[in-house]
């Protein structure tokens, strides 16, 4: 039923960062027309002049706009691809134009932190899940759209642009959202898996950035592959613990969006989060690094949020905490490394065990 209109169908992409641009190009390949929303005047002009966005050549059937209303009015399916720090602001301006028939599939891999103006975060009123939302939760909070999905998986934008093979996961509570995403994105070098564990898959994409920053420091210190593998696998365990405390399932973390994405981002210098860690280990300060990057490394913000959340929920998170201390200058990288090497882990893996259900 959907297919017959597909030639006329226009798909919206909001945000022309490297991932947004890569997705716009993949969408454009499947014969759909694409509208790509950019925020700034300069960027619009430069893209229109060069037809290059975030270092990637744009397909011909992609049109640039700065008008969110136009995106909402001409597209039923929209892919929001903006950093988590700007997401709520963006969706608030988009929301008046959104209707319950819209389908939103986002690719943002960070938390939204929202503390009401009157409220103060203190020891007695710590940060909880009430203040920290995943992006799909923000969409549902700020708009009438229910058919929401997310994209997650090892999808380094540069490689997608180079037309190298890859796969991704679309997670949604709605089968129709998954099949829409598959229809629009799938091609002979891009595979799409579906999952109904929306929160779990979102958490995978978010939490892996923490570990990527850490893996970067290991590479930066030149500690070797054994150490990195050790770090990544311990990192995965920590992700699962935090993820479970925040409402995800362990299963999601073992799939493409979990382990898969983790391996890609922890071993590639194409990853921004990895790069942050790498340069930290080389002696640069966080401010210097952030200053010199043109796109946001979500991992830094995520480390701050998750450190506080882990404390509120009493989850052991030695890796995240240690990274927090590093980026806040409370610990040197060498000390941190020594600390983690001596950390007493009880069992290697214990999250797969079925605990007997308890009465509550």
């Amino acid at each position: 039923m959907d297919l017959k209109n597909s030639s006329k169908e226009i798909i919206g992409v909001v945000g022309a960062g490297s991932f947004g641009t890569a997705i716009a190009n993949i969408l454009a390949e499947n014969s759909a027309n694409v509208i790509l929303y950019v925020r700034s005047d300069e960027k619009e002009q430069s893209i229109n002049k060069t037809r290059v966005s975030s270092g990637q050549k744009l397909a011909d059937n992609i049109r640039i706009t700065r008008d969110l209303q136009e995106v909402a009015e001409s597209c039923e399916v929209i892919f929001p691809m903006v950093p988590s720090a700007n997401f709520r602001e963006m969706i608030v301006s988009l929301s008046p134009h959104l209707r319950p028939y819209h389908v939103l599939i986002h690719g943002t891999k960070g938390f939204d932190l929202h503390i009401p103006k009157k409220e103060k975060i203190t020891r007695a009123n710590p940060i909880t899940r009430e203040h920290v939302k995943t992006i799909s939760e923000v969409i549902k909070e700020e708009s009438s759209v229910l058919r929401v999905g997310c994209l997650a998986g090892p999808n380094l934008a540069r490689e997608l642009d180079q037309r190298k093979p890859a796969a991704t996961v679309i997670a949604s509570h709605f089968d129709e959202v998954i099949s829409i995403g598959q229809r629009l994105l799938k091609n002979d070098r891009f595979m799409i898996y579906g999952s109904s564990d929306l929160i779990g898959i979102e958490l995978c994409g978010i939490l892996k950035n923490i570990i990527a920053v850490g893996a970067g420091t290991i590479s930066g210190m030149d500690l070797g592959e054994n150490a990195k593998a050790l770090f990544i696998s311990r990192g995965l365990v920590e992700m699962v613990y935090i993820g479970k405390a925040l409402g995800g399932n362990a299963q999601a973390f073992l799939g493409l969006a979990g382990v898969g994405d983790l391996i890609a981002t922890c071993t590639s210098n194409l990853s921004r989060n990895f790069t942050v860690g790498f340069r930290l280990a080389k002696g640069e300060t966080l401010d210097e690094i952030i200053e010199s990057m043109d796109e946001v490394a979500e991992g830094v913000k995520t480390i701050n949020i998750v450190t506080q959340l882990a404390e509120s929920y009493g989850v052991r998170s030695p890796i995240t905490e240690t990274l927090y201390k590093i980026i806040h200058g409370e610990m040197t990288i060498n000390d941190a490394h020594a600390y983690l090497m001596s950390f007493p882990f009880r069992a290697e893996i214990d999250f797969l065990e079925q605990k007997p259900e308890s009465f509550s």
Binding site: P96, R99, P100, Y101, F174, D175, F359
Partner: protein, 556 residues
């Protein structure tokens, strides 16, 4: 409290215009319509497996007749199912087309029978009588109990609405009932809830609502009379086969589409734990969503009639059945594999004593009418317009669109049922009026749990008497903390509080202690000097559960 007595006029004064009267007039045609609808849906989903479905149904029905026969069951049941079975066996399976034809005929036959069985027997004249009886009769009982003396039986001093407060969005629901079909979804704690709601509906001047009542209640003649006259249709919980369930859903769906206001207890049965329902039954709720979608489809772009969901919370200080309910709950969660549902409603005598107690002894009861919502839980205004959280107008029809057209997607609608049901639960917590009795129970039980944090629930409930004593001052401190927290939630609109909660702490506690589990043989809490003594941990636990779901446990 100086409440003004409000009298509501009937919104549809002519009884013959009531949708339910229309329905009962054309009962036969409606039964056919329901069966046909169920048949079509069933075929579109289960085509190819009809034979197996029928075989399974026959098998289960035979088991049921043997294991669990009831007085209301029709005489010809056995003969009927044997007949179906031999018809099925007579089919020549070699001739595929002919066999399929025959199987479909049998399916239709079964659905017609089920549909006939489910359909209510509403009669105008009975309704009027039942209505008078309820208002008049209960008012008499009430006066007899409250105003002393025999003559009080004839006193008009007290009225049912002195005892039963219908509060909240009363004008709003009247407006909505004129605009579209109202689906009322109340919380469910006591067996008398349906009578209370029935009275409230009538009090508000609304035409009667239809509702599914357990077939077991029809075993009792007097109840059967009331239920038929109040618009009940029959739900047989013993029958869980897909053919029956499809017919039942179609009944509800078609009635909604015909404009019959409906009443669902979405929790399914009475809350056993005393907790506000958090798990709702999806089956009936899904019919509201499906009916709305079909109404949009048949309106074909023109403006369709709307379905409005109205949550209702019933509050009282105590539930007569509490001791039995909580026992059952504990047995269940205690993993006892077999339990027999205790039926305290098995005879007319038991019901009358129950009702008498309920109306004479019960302290005040309030029925809070919530704000109307569309089928996805967005609030609607008095004109029936839906709004999203930011106050933008939305058209609920858009929820069913794909490629600018309404599409049928079961999985999508199942997800929508989940959205709606969590919205209803949210509204329940909002409209829940906290009584002091709930909070004293909560405070006391949580203190007990804290003191014995190493014990699991079952051991806490079995603590020996000497451990069941709380210090009053300490109790007061905790009570105060919790009340402050509740006030904060109240300000945010997340819970409601009874007037008496505003009294000074000591008074409020006293009020709570006086009322908690008031008429049980064993009061859960008793004040003795500077100690509070817990007399019955089970019922204390039951009343404490009412305050679950607000995250209050962190503040004790």
């Amino acid at each position: 409290m100086g409440r003004n007595k409000v009298r509501y006029s009937e919104i549809v004064p002519k009884k013959r215009d009531w949708p339910i009267v229309q329905l009962s007039k054309n009962r036969k045609a409606f039964i056919d319509e329901v069966a046909k609808e169920a048949y079509n849906k069933f075929l579109s989903e289960k085509n190819g497996t009809i034979r197996e479905e029928i075989e399974m149904t026959i098998h289960r029905e035979k088991l049921r007749m043997k294991a669990n026969p009831w007085k209301v069951d029709p005489q010809d049941e056995r003969a009927y199912w044997s007949g179906i079975q031999s018809r099925l066996l007579d089919i020549d399976i070699e001739d595929k087309a002919e066999a399929a034809e025959q199987e479909k005929k049998i399916l239709m036959d079964i659905m017609l029978r089920y549909s006939e069985e489910i359909a209510g027997n509403f009669r105008k004249s009975y309704y009027r009588f039942a209505q008078k009886f309820v208002t008049f009769g209960f008012a008499r009982l009430l006066n007899a109990a409250r105003v002393k003396g025999l003559l009080a039986l004839f006193s008009k001093q007290l009225d049912l609405d002195d005892k039963l407060h219908v509060v909240g969005e009363t004008e709003h629901i009247r407006k909505l009932a004129k605009l579209g079909t109202v689906v009322m979804v109340p919380t469910h704690f006591s067996n008398l809830d349906s009578i209370l709601i029935g009275w409230a509906i009538q009090h508000l001047g609304l035409p009667p609502f239809i509702y599914g009542a357990g077939l077991n209640l029809f075993n009792i003649k007097i109840l059967a009379y009331f239920m038929n006259s109040l618009g009940a249709y029959k739900v047989d919980r013993r029958k869980k086969n897909p053919i029956y369930l499809e017919t039942l859903k179609s009944y509800s769906n078609r009635a909604i589409q015909r404009g019959c206001h409906s009443l669902f207890f979405p929790g399914g049965t009475r809350s056993r734990s005393g907790e506000i329902e958090t798990q709702l039954k999806m089956g009936l709720l899904s019919t509201a969503i499906e009916a709305q979608r079909e109404m949009y489809q048949s309106a074909n772009g023109a403006s369709a009639k709307r379905v409005f969901i109205v949550p209702v919370v019933i509050n009282y200080h105590f539930t007569l059945e509490a001791p039995a309910l909580i026992k059952e709950h504990l047995k269940r969660t205690g993993r006892e594999r077999y339990y027999v549902e205790a039926d305290e409603f098995s005879t007319s005598y038991k019901i009358s004593t129950f009702m008498f107690k309920f109306f004479t002894k019960g302290s005040d009861i309030s029925v809070s009418i919530g704000r109307g919502m569309d089928i996805l839980g967005n609030y609607v205004d008095n004109d029936g317009n839906s709004f999203d959280k930011n106050g933008n107008t939305i058209n609920p029809r858009d929820y069913f669109l794909r490629g600018k057209e309404i599409t049928v997607d079961k999985q999508r609608e199942n997800e929508y049922v989940r959205v709606l049901s969590s919205r209803i639960v949210e509204e329940y917590h909002k409209y829940n009026r906290v009584f002091a009795s709930h909070l004293v129970a909560f405070t006391a039980f949580k203190m007990l749990e804290r003191k014995h944090s190493k014990l699991d629930l079952y051991n806490v409930l079995r603590l020996p008497d000497e451990d069941l004593i709380l210090d009053y001052e300490e109790f007061k401190e905790k009570y105060k903390q919790l009340r402050t927290k509740l006030e904060k939630l109240h300000k945010k609109g997340q819970v409601n509080m009874a007037f008496h909660m505003k009294k000074k702490t000591d008074q409020s506690i006293l009020h709570g202690l006086k009322n908690v589990g008031l008429y049980h043989d064993q009061r859960p809490l008793v004040l003795k000097g500077d100690k509070i003594i817990i007399k019955d941990t089970n019922t204390l636990y039951y009343y404490h559960n009412r305050m679950n779901g607000y995250g209050l446990e962190k503040f004790i």
